[in-house]
Amino acid sequence: MSVGITVENVSKRFRRGERHNSLRDLVGSWLRFGPNMGEGGRAHENDFWALDNVSFDVKPGEAFGLIGPNGAGKSTMLKLLAGIMRPNRGQIKIDGRISALIEVGAGFHPDLTGRENVYLNAAILGMEREEVDRKFDEIVDFAGIGDFLDTPIKRYSSGMYARLGFSVAAHVEPDVLLVDEVLSVGDRVFRTKCLEKMRGFLERGVAVVFVSHDLRAVSAFCDRALVLANGKPAFHGPVTEAVSRYHKACLNSFTADGADEGGLVDVEPIRFMDAGGREKQTFTPGESVTVEFDVKFLHPMVRPSFGLSLIRAEDRMVVFETSSTRMNHVTPPAVEGTRCRVKYDIKLNVQPAEYVVGYHVRDRDSSMYAALEEDARIMVIGGNSCGGVVDLAPHVSVKSLESAPPPSWSKDAGRLVAS
């Protein structure tokens, strides 16, 4: 049976800061001839594990998601899969030809024409020349750059550039496909085309590993997913559950700033109140709402900023987001152990739906960050007089511009119909 991808207990160690602190290190590394930093390699005080004991497998024809906050180790995992780096421990087995949609248009040279770059990029991705010849028209069609084929790509728009890059990569015939955030390129039509192309790969039995911050795309596309947090596997299983675990992983995740395990802040449950000060969860479009939450600082922050976002529950679309910093609201430095109350007044000019309210606390002058957006939900209910995302509070009037109204538009006719 063919296996696609098997990742067994993979760990990857990186070193913070500069590589060589002393002449001894430098000379030592020069003399070192054998494999570096293996299991037996010297541990270093600045070492950290970018990936810690990660295992998963992807079967042919399966789409597997890798999600997690920034710095969780997703890109490192992809680089290990692509063979660019080697793990310090564990093993990776891959069945067949790998294609990586990690950076579209890698190796594109701005001075060369679109045509020349297609050949160059295809060679970089491991395609033979006659294979490119055969698929050339298809590649150009897919990218939709026909008229600009012989124009140097430095004159391309960024969208055209990305489309051409994606198109070349998508025409490699891989057995294993690694995708990193590339679907964010191009317009909506092109994104749909890309997803179709990737579904086609799945049908042909390609094993796909998909990394994205677009949770909607991940849950639409993948069957299973792995949630990474600080290099450790936090959850491994069905994609719907993984997405909800992702938010928990984001909670109190912070970057390499040295904050301890206890988290940065304690946040009291968020409260929603209507104009009359009554606490409730259900509102109507256009209603004024006060959002309130209490924050207890477990770490000092120089310039804390408090953010709020409204996310449609059904498809996780961010409908609205802001923060005190963005609104130029100056906040005093936070002393460890003190508490403060954050209050946002908003007008719910949104369509009826269920919404998740996300809120975060971060320090503007460092990268400390804590966010939570899982359990706070509100419902907006009301008539379905309009669609889309927001409620623009429309008023409508229709008036004929003809001096003599056509018969069918006459008031009499209207009355006739109405009666």
Partner: protein, 286 residues
């Protein structure tokens, strides 16, 4: 089924590596072609720039040795009627291939950083393709060398060009030079990735290296005790071999040349082995 070993594991065996490299030969040519294309795209003279640098150096040395300090031709070239310009040019053309090929190779990994960190293929492709693009310049300049030889043949100065059977040895000399360059190129491009000093150091040393190679003078022009030293440098027998088979019409295969071939082979073996062992560290250190 490919297994990606961890850092304690071994690299792919050389034979499998060679077959992998041949799969990517297309890419090697494409990258070389890209370099050439881009190098001459915005220049008016275009490929003439492959000829101008060795030609101008030849003129400089002809002027300095012939006019400024007036060195006897026989002492410089080993023959009373061999024109110095041809002597110098025949050394400068392969030397420029050496110097330019290595200069390109040394920076090749660093300048292709996005590819090194994002996409996998055998990393040897970068230094090797840099050398291919220098090789193209070498071929163009070689044509000019032939033209110069023919012109001087008809020029009444007592020297005549003898097209000789020794020309058949030329490919072997080129091969030895390429083997030596490939070994050095792999080593130095890798070293430059870890320590950028290597690139600066090389640029400082390459001029000195040229003068300690018999590029613009013959070995016999130096004091005997210096000859041994100069011949330790494998480029000396290689440049000399070019002249022997192209101009002098003498078999180029002597003991120093065998030594140069041995050093070249050893350099390639060491360079390539080392390169393959540390290749997987490139992306995290670049």
């Amino acid at each position: 089924m490919t297994a990606i070993p961890n850092t304690a594991g071994l690299s792919a065996p050389p034979l499998r590596r060679i077959s992998e490299l041949t799969r990517y030969r297309e890419l090697m040519w494409m990258l070389a072609w890209r370099d050439i294309r881009v190098r001459y795209k915005h220049s008016i003279l275009g490929a003439a720039w492959a000829i101008i640098p060795p030609a101008s150096m030849m003129l400089v040395f002809t002027f300095v040795f012939g006019q400024v300090i007036d060195v006897e031709n026989e002492r410089l070239t080993g023959s009373a009627n061999l024109p110095y310009s041809l002597f110098a040019f025949s050394g400068l053309v392969p030397w420029m291939f050496f110097a330019n090929g290595l200069t390109g190779a040394i920076g090749s990994l660093v300048s292709n950083r996005p590819l090194v960190t994002k996409i996998y293929f055998p990393r040897e492709v970068f230094p090797l393709s840099a050398m291919i693009s220098a090789f193209v310049d070498f071929v163009i300049a070689s044509f000019v060398l032939v033209v110069l030889a023919v012109v001087l043949h008809f020029y009444p100065n007592g020297w005549h060009f003898h097209a000789s059977w020794t020309l058949a040895y030329l490919p072997i000399i080129v091969l030895v030079q390429i083997v030596f360059m490939a070994g050095l190129g792999l080593l130095l491009s890798m070293a430059n990735l870890f320590y950028r000093d290597i690139g600066f150091l090389f640029r400082a040393i390459i001029q000195l290296w040229m003068f300690s190679t018999c590029v613009v003078y013959q070995l016999e022009a130096t004091a005997p005790w210096k000859r041994t030293l100069i011949q330790m440098n494998p480029m000396t027998p290689i440049i000399r071999a070019y002249r022997d088979c192209l101009i002098v019409g003498r078999s180029p295969f002597d003991q120093p040349f065998a030594y140069a071939a041995a050093v070249a082979t050893l350099t390639l073996l060491i360079g390539w082995t080392w390169f393959r062992r540390r290749e997987f560290e490139f992306a995290e250190n670049i």
